[in-house]
Symmetry: C2
Subunit: 401 residues, 2 copies
């Protein structure tokens, strides 16, 4: 309908942007009867609907305040709540000028990239990593260097070599991006020893660490590992967390913590991108927390998702080929499966025919040609009875390939 | 506290970004006793607090849906409502793939710039214009060419000359930005004849028009002027509107309408910046509209703000120096005053001493040195009795300078 030649006037960002590979797959998961292990969605069956609705009392009580423009760095009562609530994990109460409330963690990533990256600058990422992070980073002109992960997370011993070779090759490395707990997609948790080592390396090479932690509160067994932020004395670690997985993603309320000099710059950019995160959404989240529902809800979803994790683990052990490899995650949302020699991209359409969906391995790598025989399966979204059936269907699809 | 040398690693965007000039002034408006004509805020005294709180029933009714991740292009029921509600102004019901829900109009601006601008590309703006727009555009690397405004809005007759000279000077002009109704800050409305002419010029020079319309529904006298979007047959006009001024800015819910090719690219960028606008906020706004409160509230604020406009007009006529120049706006939020020979930046601190705040003229220009003896005063935020008192104080400050 448009007579305008758009291609001729789009920006380089627009010409290069691609739909998220996960989004491209997700449309198939809408096929009736398909059991989805694909999207990384929480289970709506356990959303705290009544508790969240109760929080709407703040709209009457504080309406004149929460309906007005809000401060760009966030709704003060919520920031204060988070600072106190997170103190045991952060090692201390963080100060107001160290924290910015964002429209999802995704926005924290975008803003961090906007204040650190010039076009062509490099980020060290985990291989595999969260595709949404790669998407945000690419939109801000990033190049990537990948470092492999094993069952203890990022292989930090390989880092110095990657950094040194990268610098020799002309990479201007700005920061190291790590999803430290129950990584997306690998499920691995970076061990305490590796966290200390990672910080040491970042100090030695004068690099920033972006510690992304959306899943840290969802541990089903094992012991909590201290955040890198809490180990850092030099203001070198930027830490992000979110209400998406511990309350509900539809709020789009998350936060990012870092050195005041950096946060202040992100605030100034955010003044130009959306002025502030929805004050209404922030106030609802705050009130929900204030009423004690966050602390009440967490044990409930930990128990619920822990059972689902166990169910998927048991079903995979029962049905998948004997050569399938994975490490059972201690928390989070995901299994990361390798079926050696099975091309997960070819498997995908076959699996859809059998009525089950997952995300193909290559979606999680910055470079093409990696992760070909890997797939990510989410255990939180599907219902318990679907998990066993889905594993059975996946096994049948693999057999047929 | 940070041992990191941040300046050495910040991006060019971060190094160049400045706090919004309005934000820098706003801190003075917090001084006790100061009457603020500065910020462009709606009046919290008439926020529809009870009606908006009533809308929270959707959190119980649709909780499982609205707490989940939402579609990047927006909450379908809200998009449908807007499409029908806006049809008389848009000339037709716009289609789902022509509309994107944004986190405030500010985000629409940022996304539009991200898909159209390469670093150093040029936007034609009105002189004066909204500083938040300049901020968003600068963050995406824009340069500017300004075209003056008079009481009928953008002086479109000057446009061809500016475009031709600009192109000769190497400017790659991407779009023309116009706030068409009750412009911020000038209060002027672009006449119907000029809208037609503007579209003709955009066609001739193959340029896009960004029609920004946050105030269009707030007309206190005179006749509605058709949108440029409704005159356009070529998909050349991008139109933005918001709930900030007609409901409440704390929702951070707005929308942008344009050619599907363009909207689709903005959706892809938004997947990387925040995935979607708060579904919770969108659902609350939708329910508020569905219950009929938007249509019920509009006449109320139009009457309320119309009286405030009249009060400020009368107070300025009564107290300000005889050589003060302004055109009484037919709607919106602002008066744009010129007191010839009075430097508004010098006047500002004097005015704060007298207990009244405004925004200085130069904040509204892309180029330094313009608008020196202008100031913007907002009539919606201050209470009626404050408006007369504020005008009196402003007159005293001018006299003292």
């Amino acid at each position: 309908m448009s007579t305008v030649n758009w291609d001729a006037r789009l920006s380089e960002i627009a010409l290069n942007v691609k739909p998220s590979p996960i989004r491209a797959l997700l449309k198939y998961t809408k096929t009736p009867g398909v059991i989805s292990f694909a999207g990384g969605n929480p289970d709506p069956a356990v959303f705290p609907v009544a508790e969240f609705a109760e929080a709407s009392q703040i709209l009457s009580r504080e309406g004149k305040d929460v309906l007005q423009y809000g401060a760009t760095n966030g709704y003060d009562p919520l920031k204060e709540y988070i600072s106190k609530w997170m103190a045991p994990r952060m090692g201390r109460e963080t100060k107001p000028d160290e924290m910015l409330i964002t429209t999802g963690s995704q926005e924290g990533m975008d803003l961090l990239c906007s204040v650190l990256l010039n076009d062509g600058d490099t980020i060290i990422v985990e291989g595999p990593t969260y595709p949404g992070a790669l998407h945000a980073m690419r939109n801000r002109g990033a190049r990537f260097l990948s470092v492999p992960c094993d069952k203890d997370g990022l292989c930090v011993d390989l880092l110095p070599g990657v950094i040194e070779q990268g610098r020799k090759d002309g990479h201007k490395i700005k920061f190291i991006y790590s999803i430290v707990n129950f990584q997306n997609p690998s499920g691995a948790t970076l061990s305490k020893e590796r966290r200390a080592k990672l910080l040491e390396i970042a100090e030695k090479y004068d690099l920033i660490i972006f510690e992304d932690d959306p899943y840290g509160h969802l541990r089903y067994n094992g012991e909590h590992v201290p955040t890198i932020f809490s180990m850092d004395k030099g203001g070198r670690v930027v830490y992000a967390c979110s209400f998406s997985k511990i309350l509900a993603p539809g709020t789009r309320v998350a936060w990012i913590v870092g050195a005041p000099e950096l946060i202040q710059k992100m605030v100034m950019i955010k003044q130009g991108t959306n002025l502030c995160t929805s004050v209404v959404a922030q106030a609802l989240v705050y009130e929900y927390c204030r009423l004690g529902h966050l602390d009440g809800f967490l044990p409930k979803i930990i128990a619920h998702y822990g059972k689902k994790r166990d169910a998927m683990d048991a079903a995979f052990k029962k049905y998948l080929p004997a050569n399938t490899r994975y490490h059972t995650p201690e928390g989070g949302f995901f299994f990361w499966l390798q079926v050696p020699g099975v091309d997960s991209t070819k498997l995908f359409m076959k699996a859809i025919d059998h009525g089950v969906a997952f995300v193909t391995g290559p979606a999680f790598y910055a470079e093409a040609g990696e992760g070909l025989d890997y797939m990510r399966t989410c255990f939180t979204f599907a219902q318990p009875e679907e998990i066993e059936e889905g594993a059975k269907r996946l096994a049948a699809a693999i057999k047929e390939l």
